[in-house]
Amino acid sequence: MNEVRRLLPGKQTSSSPISKERLVERGFDRALDYALALEPEEIISTVTKSGIKGRGGAAFPTGVKWSSVSKAEGSVKYVVMNADESELGTFKDRVLLEEDPLGALVGLVIGAHAVGAKKAYCYIRGEYREVEQTLARAIETLRHGGWVGPHGVEIEIRRGAGAYIAGEETALFNSIEGKRPEPRVKPPFPTTKGLWASPTLIQNVETLANVAILFAHDLHWFTAYGTQDTVGTKLVGLSGHIRRPGVYEVPFGTPMQEILDAPELGGTVSGSGRLGAVLLGGAAGTFLTPQEVKNTVLDYPSLGAIGASIGSGAIMVFDDTVNLEWVVTKLARFFAEESCGQCVPCRIGTKRILEMMETGELWTRTSDLRALGQAMKDASICGLGQTAPVALLSILERPELRHHA
């Protein structure tokens, strides 16, 4: 199966990414004019029928979320684009915003209309300085078109300051509010009590770009790709021992092996040329054995069956010479450094895991690690602590990966 380009603009696209011409070339002007003329319920109904799921990692049905925010009580509502892309091995939102910033913004404007928000925020990772400039200019393009501004929705960019945790949606709200980015307890969910204690629609960049292309075309076009369970395409970020690292757009259902091997995609494993393991979904992801890679396709049910998830779409490839214990130690250090410190399981748990990895105890203290990992998954406040042990636990479940250790 070839690489698809729908979220990413086609290679022949000639206009500047932030220009009015680009809006026209991508059909986004049409999408805006069409969507903004609809009743909010009609937009939400279309999004629901499209089957779009959140692309930030949790895969929550987008239409359901929009409907919740729309129905939530409150005269003031907000929409937020989460562009705080900080997951290891994940750089799809950056590429998307560089190549086609108007798409996600168009999705944001449509979302604001659908839920009744007058104000939107783009929260962007602090290190993405150039992307931020691009985004700001793209917002100006929409302002000139009248879609952004006092009569439409106001969009403000907020920049993160280097904390991974700020990408967690409620921590992100705290950051926008000028507070320490600690995740909040849920419920209440952002849909009823989010930014400034108001109902808030928060979506990943890629999700919003999906909305834009949906309205630039139609349901029939949109649903042409994908599987029974998951419609559309997914941006994946290939990195590590792979000949053609980069961001690729592939339909859901594409075999994992093909993503690694297809000449227009990964172009096969580099290094020793022999696959050792794949870490799917970033630091909080799951290690897959070569056998699992061979037998699975990129789709939630298929991966779910082996305890894995697409997450943000990060695919880190390791050849068979890599010591995975060293990789796990790196991941442990990442989480220990990025834990906000609010809750006990994450604050101390990430530290203890790191210490055990540094002293080479991965395979000697499996029951302690399982108990600790389970407690972190069960009892941490937010996704960071809940997923911090996942990669480690996935190795423990796959003793065949031990020979690398």
Partner: protein, 279 residues
């Protein structure tokens, strides 16, 4: 009934008022869940996670201190996952902080059969005591980062906002701003942080000194309720007296005037009553 919800806790059906937390509901049916950071007069911080329970249909365990009971919920307070989390939380804290005068943490450890050694041997919070004034002492080696002090100093009572959490991960700690000594900070010494601290990490100087000298003797301490003699607010003071010396002042948590909170004069200003100045 309109203003109530019915749920099951450990298989037992219970009807509670709308807005009741799972923690309170569990208490009502006498299946109490242990807590550390929860405090009856403070906003639940949900930081310690000792109070997690299992709710059917929920992917993770939920903090019972802040989760509101909903109709039809099926709650388990002692499932395998709950017991594991509770125990690990206790073990992680014991591996990090000095629990020698932390009764709540000691009892959590006991009821969860925690093995204090399991995760020990790594970094701890051992650090020098900070004695930078003569009213209260910061012995942060005992801190479990329950956030109670931050809330008492902030929105929940004092509204001074002198302290907050600084740093992140294992290095997150309570700080008066840029690592300053208290006299250089915004602290007004109300001592409400001391009043709510469950571990003795924040402790009155007098108590700290007596304990350090081995002279603090619970059996010799009497507690007498009275009323503060400073302004006209009328705060109840509980005078803790040992050898005819007031050594600590607290206020009852259920008192309608104080809710357990005092100002610097009420909490620390008692010395005049026992000063040696002859009449």
């Amino acid at each position: 009934m309109e203003n109530t919800v019915t749920l099951t806790i450990d298989g037992e059906s219970v009807t509670v008022a709308q807005g009741t937390t799972l923690r309170a509901a569990c208490e009502e049916v006498q299946h109490p869940v242990p807590t550390l950071c929860w405090h009856e007069n403070l906003t639940a911080a949900n930081a310690c996670r000792a109070c997690v329970v299992e709710v059917k249909g929920s992917r993770t365990l939920v903090a019972s201190c802040s989760r509101i009971a909903e109709a039809g919920m099926e709650v388990q307070t002692a499932s395998e996952r709950v017991l594991n989390s509770r125990k690990v939380v206790a073990e992680l804290l014991l591996s990090t902080s000095d629990a020698s005068i932390a009764p709540d943490l000691q009892s959590l450890a006991a009821i969860s059969s925690a093995d204090a050694e399991r995760f020990s041997g790594g970094n701890t919070w051992a650090q020098p005591v900070r004695e930078d004034n003569n009213l209260y002492v910061r012995d942060l080696a005992k801190c479990i980062l329950c956030y109670r002090c931050v809330e008492a100093c902030g929105d929940d009572a004092q509204n001074t906002f002198a302290i907050a959490v600084a740093g992140r991960g294992f290095n997150a700690h309570i700080d008066a701003g840029f690592g300053r000594d208290l006299p250089e900070s915004d602290c007004v010494y109300c001592g409400n942080c001391v009043a709510v601290c469950p571990t003795g990490a924040l402790i009155g100087k007098r108590e700290f000194d007596l304990r350090a000298r081995g002279e603090w003797d619970e059996d010799k301490i009497t507690t007498t309720p009275t009323v503060c003699s400073f302004c006209g607010v009328g705060c109840e003071l509980d005078l803790h007296v040992m050898d005819n010396q007031i050594i600590k002042v607290t206020s009852p948590l259920d008192h309608p005037v104080t809710h357990g909170m005092l100002c610097v004069k009420g909490r620390f200003g008692y010395e005049f009553a026992q000063s040696e100045e002859p009449v």
